[in-house]
């Protein structure tokens, strides 16, 4: 086992495995929000938007993982001073945050597992389309993790961090057109949806799965927006974060 894999494993154990083992209710917790919205959309649309809602559940899960990272980094840093113990060790900031980000995926694995099974059963796509959607979801995760990392460097209050986390998750993954197509939003309000990074991811994923028709140039623009946002959030996080405080 290399030094890097040991250091990544430490973050995964602390922020996911041990916590899930101590509190099994967490296994249901991460599952409940995406599945609740999925079931709601399924009933309201009489089953017509099931595929869109499954994609929405996946986007929400990936997005909220990044937001959990924000709250967890803040929690471990401010409440237990764990980050300081790690700073004064051979682990660097990149490895620490990468390990914590992977831990969030592990933490959300029950929800992802259920959604992947539903996707395989109810979203008829080719391997190529499935791979493209997986890449889009990973980009969404990267963007969300970068945003979470940037926010965690700003907030030093755990209550505020959890509040932020809930607020942004609700705004960007339930109110935004993630569980339903953008075209359902009346034109004057549609511009507001473009303020959410999840709008671009959802439109791309829905188009790739064949649920909506979007011109290629718009799809390319959406991909560029998601990549750019990830880069901007990551830059802010790296600029703001101080491994050794000033």
């Amino acid at each position: 086992m290399s030094k890097l894999s040991s250091q990544l494993l430490a973050s995964i154990l602390v922020n996911a495995i041990y916590e899930m083992r101590a509190y099994p209710v967490i296994l249901i917790n991460t599952l409940i929000s995406p599945l609740s919205f999925l079931i709601l959309i399924f009933f309201v649309s009489h089953g017509d938007l099931l595929g869109v809602a499954i994609l929405g559940g996946m986007i929400m899960t990936m997005f909220q993982s990044g937001m959990f990272l924000q709250a967890d980094l803040s929690h471990l840093k401010n409440d237990f001073r764990l980050q300081e113990m790690v700073v004064a060790s051979p682990t660097g900031p990149g490895t620490y945050v990468a390990g914590m980000a992977i831990a969030e995926i592990v933490y959300s694995s029950p929800a992802l597992l259920v959604l992947v099974i539903l996707f395989a059963l109810f979203v008829p796509v080719t391997w190529f389309q499935a791979t493209a959607i997986a890449i889009i979801l990973l980009l969404m995760f990267l963007s969300s993790v970068s945003l979470g990392f940037a926010l965690s460097t700003i907030s030093s209050d755990i209550v505020q961090s959890f509040g932020f986390s809930r607020l942004i998750t609700t705004l960007f993954s339930t109110l935004a057109p993630v569980y339903y197509p953008l075209t359902l939003i009346p034109e004057p309000f549609r511009v507001l949806a473009y303020l959410s990074p999840t709008t671009y991811t959802a439109r791309l994923a829905q188009a790739l799965a064949g649920f909506t028709v979007v011109p290629t140039e718009v799809m390319l623009m959406d991909a560029a927006v998601v990549i750019s946002l990830s880069a901007i959030f990551l830059y802010i996080g790296l600029r703001k974060a101080r491994w050794r405080e000033r």
Binding site: M1, S6, V14, R81, L82, M85, A88, P90, R244, E245
Partner: protein, 307 residues
Amino acid sequence: MVVNEVSCENLSKVYSNGKEALSDISFTIPTRGVFALIGRNGAGKTTLTRVMSTLLEPSSGRATIDGLDIMEDAAELRSRMAVVPQEGKVVPWMSPVQMITAYLLWRGEAHKDAMRKARDAVAMVGIEEHANRINRVLSGGMKRKALVAMVIASGADLIFLDEPSTGLDPISRRDLWGLLTDISKDRFLFMTTHYLEEAESIADRIGILDGGRLLALGSMEDLRASMGRRYVLKFPSGTALPPFEGEMMVGRDGMTQVMTTDEGSHELSKVLIDSGTWFSLNPVTLEDIFYRKVGRKIDADNGEARD
């Protein structure tokens, strides 16, 4: 390159809000045994510990540990040090063994080795019966011991503990002192405390900080010598005394306390014995030294919330 030495030259720290936490700190001590920093709340103990343990940048000045600069050689130093911050806590959803294992993984150990070392360290601090219980249900003393086990397991030879015994009951505190004394036999322990008895009992060297300034540093003997008076006599007030070199104070308990030199204590003892007066004769304590250096008792309630 000077090895086996911690050295600070004109170290200062001014926070972004303008508060000067450290002012022109300079000292040199060997990297062995226990070094305890004492001071009231807001004296600068935590700031100095954070600067020396590479957690916080100084505003000016320079510090080295075994010749390694805390700014330029931080990566090398971090591979040799283990730190438990002032408000460092065990993670409640983990057991002591899990917590130590994770910490050792962050230090780059293989999982199998980390597990083995974690179990050994937990046994060493005497909490093996609770090794696999989650930290949330452990007592305050056991949680502190788990953190000490963590630094023991790390194998680091530079250990920084910021107020390790705060909040512990007297028995747990004494247990901890035993552990810290054991650790310091083959490692350097840099700690802060506001328990003067703790510093006096386990520290090889003591630094007194107040208002961000280092007022004194040395072994207990050095500190006593710096006072020029090494003994304290206590006896009922009203006893006639010959002229002597030293200070005299009358307490509210009706007892007179005299701090004096070796010769003074010898002469006064003879007078008190001859007059049949009961008295006590003790070496000057750290509390006496602190009071005279700082001008206030360590628990005088006019410090600030955070160092």
